[in-house]
């Protein structure tokens, strides 16, 4: 538990520090690198919260693809030399997020959260950690789940089952959205002369 807390606070400091860096640093290229650091830190948070699959997705998509796209964009546009200039909205841009943060912190502490009930805590951990692969019998034994009904319940719970079962409609809509974004990005990149 102590190691977990230590890792949490180290990652938290890195994440928040790098995030402040992204919006404050003048050099856009450094901002892009700091953004990659924020993404890695968030992947670390996902591991701490037993969302291993999401951590891998985070590294593959955010660190591997989106950061690189940002670095390309910074390199390909000439304004890099001017850097990350502020605009004229400085005061409202500080006040609004500060108010929002205050409201959110107040809500976080004043809400009465319902924690996962103790009997299901272990089951939930197992389901979340093993969300992609089938849960093997030795893992179930180690977690102390011997009831066959519970075993089959845990084994049938997985991200893929949810994505292609209960959430199949949003899943398909997101697929169509990705296709549309792909076509849109191609059309934008071709430019006016190639539009005909």
């Amino acid at each position: 538990m102590f190691l977990q807390d230590l890792a949490f606070w180290v990652i938290a400091v890195v994440a928040v520090g790098a995030a402040v860096g992204v919006v404050v640093v003048r050099d856009l290229f450094r901002a892009a690198l700091l953004l990659a650091l924020v993404f890695v830190a968030v992947a670390g948070f996902f591991v701490l919260m037993s969302a291993e699959f999401l951590a891998v997705v985070q590294v593959l998509i955010y660190v591997g693809a989106i950061s690189i796209l940002f670095i390309f964009a910074v390199m390909l546009t000439q304004d890099v030399r001017q850097g990350n200039l502020p605009n004229r909205l400085q005061i409202p841009a500080v006040v609004l997020p500060a108010l929002l943060l205050a409201a959110m912190v107040f809500t976080i502490f004043s809400t009465d959260w319902t924690p996962i009930p103790e009997p299901q805590r272990g089951l939930a951990d197992l389901v979340q950690t093993q969300s992609v692969g089938p849960v093997e019998n030795p893992a179930l034994q180690r977690a102390g789940i011997t009831d066959p009904a519970q075993q089959s319940e845990v084994q049938s719970a997985g991200l893929a089952d949810l994505l292609l079962g209960k959430f199949v409609l949003p899943f398909e809509i997101v697929s169509v959205l990705l296709l549309a974004a792909l076509i849109g990005a191609l059309a934008l990149a071709r430019g006016r002369q190639g539009a005909g």
Binding site: L69, T77, L89, V105, I108, P115, E153, L159, A185
Partner: protein
């Protein structure tokens, strides 16, 4: 490490991103700030899935994964958004020669 600490980190990320999106004049910096906001939201989803019991937990233990499913959708939409956003940035750069939001006024009037 508790639910509250996790949610506050996520709220901090979101608010830092919001500040960046409002206060920067370079459109690439604004897109980066929006990515920060997406990450804050994702952290919230996963933290709530990890610590808070969903209403359906008595029916099926698989409902503790709902937050992760939503995070997957958010990541997908963020990827689509960034591909399109950078496409628009390049089109803007081609037609205006700048990516400074304060100097682009094509949509005004």
């Amino acid at each position: 490490m508790s639910l509250e600490a996790m949610l506050i980190i996520a709220a901090l990320l979101f608010c830092i991103g919001l500040y960046g999106a409002l206060a920067r004049s370079n459109v690439i910096a604004v897109l980066m700030s929006i990515e920060l906001m997406f990450n804050g939201v994702n952290l919230t989803f996963v933290a709530l899935a990890r610590y808070v019991a969903p209403a359906a937990i008595q029916e099926s233990i698989a409902s503790v994964l709902t937050g992760q499913v939503f995070a997957v959708f958010v990541i997908t939409v963020a990827a689509a958004e960034i591909a399109l956003g950078l496409g628009i940035v390049f089109a803007m750069y081609r037609s205006n020669g700048t990516v400074d939001l304060t100097q682009v006024a094509e949509m005004r009037n």
